[in-house]
Symmetry: C2
Subunit: 194 residues, 2 copies
């Protein structure tokens, strides 16, 4: 059942890897065709245009991200542990190098030259992620499980920014451990009473 129409998924998976490596203009149809094992123009059968391909890709990524956060809400009760799990997820992604960067974070850095349709999806991801983090912060504060200095919103934005910066540093240093080096103090500061 998963083999049915898997080519479109293969194309998306491949494009994801390529975008994570070098952004919107860092890959071409030829690159995808080589990896997927298909002729270059055949990609148009599955996606009308490059914009369409990337928009679909980001939209699906966002769906999966939302599903992942929902699962986290269900499986982990403690707000502090939720943040820890979120960080652990990315730590694992970066370590095994499958997708060592958030697609939306990477695309956001190129926002000025991004097709508007893609840019919309990217901005939506930032808003959604920040909202979720703010809700976790808020709940953690109420339950006395998280120690906030500023408002939940500000703490959430700071958290998100630091995580993105940590991904960048890990990449710049070529050292996956750098992600943990930066994010661990962040978690400690939020969960420790001082």
């Amino acid at each position: 059942m998963s083999t049915v129409s898997s080519t479109a998924d293969d194309i998306l998976a491949c494009a994801l890897t390529l975008i994570v490596a070098g952004g919107y203009n860092g890959f071409s149809y030829a690159d995808i065709a080589d990896v997927v094992g298909i002729r270059k123009p055949s990609i148009h059968h599955h996606f009308a245009s490059k914009v369409d391909l990337v928009r679909t890709l980001v939209a699906r990524y966002r769906e999966e991200a939302q599903a992942g956060l929902s699962a986290l809400e269900r499986n982990v009760a403690d707000p502090a542990e939720q943040l820890k799990s979120y960080i652990a997820y990315w730590e694992a992604c970066i370590k095994d190098a499958t997708a060592p960067f958030c697609v939306c974070a990477l695309l956001a850095s190129e926002l000025p030259i991004l097709p508007e349709e893609v840019a919309l999806e990217v901005r939506a991801h930032f808003r959604h992620l920040a909202s979720w983090l703010a809700s976790v912060m808020e709940r953690g504060k109420r339950q006395g499980r998280l120690h906030l200095v500023g408002t939940a919103r500000v703490e959430a934005e700071g958290f998100m920014a630091t995580v993105h910066g940590a991904m960048l540093s890990a990449r710049a240093y070529g050292d996956p451990k750098m992600f943990g080096t930066v994010t661990r103090p962040l978690l400690d500061r939020l969960s420790t009473r001082h």
Copy 2:
């Protein structure tokens, strides 16, 4: 004196703007030629290749950055104020939109597909900036002017990552104020005794 051989500088300045907007593959010689008012092949008279152009660009950027940090060391004594000035510099850059992103931060996100010569310069910038920040942290700690939780090195990496993440968020939200929203608590936490 500054008009002498200004074309090379114009090309570099233009390329900087374009890279800041969309990364290494986000601009072409044609783009530069249009802005500078020169024919496309004439760029080769000043820079042998695109790699050469960008490598020169990043090398010069690094020189200016180092000069800027040195000036900061001379003009501002207090470590906490040095960090504040560094943030204020970027806050101004982002607000007036001249160069609302660090070139090296943007290029770092594309590191896997960057020509090695450029990648080397980018990595060097990260190391140098982190070293400077660590030295400021260390001095601030000794002088009792900065309150560190972890080691100077770890605090420096966290600081740098958060600043980069703040640039990204400001871009993603299309809101320059977001940079200050994220970085102000960072400065407060370091300079406040609590």
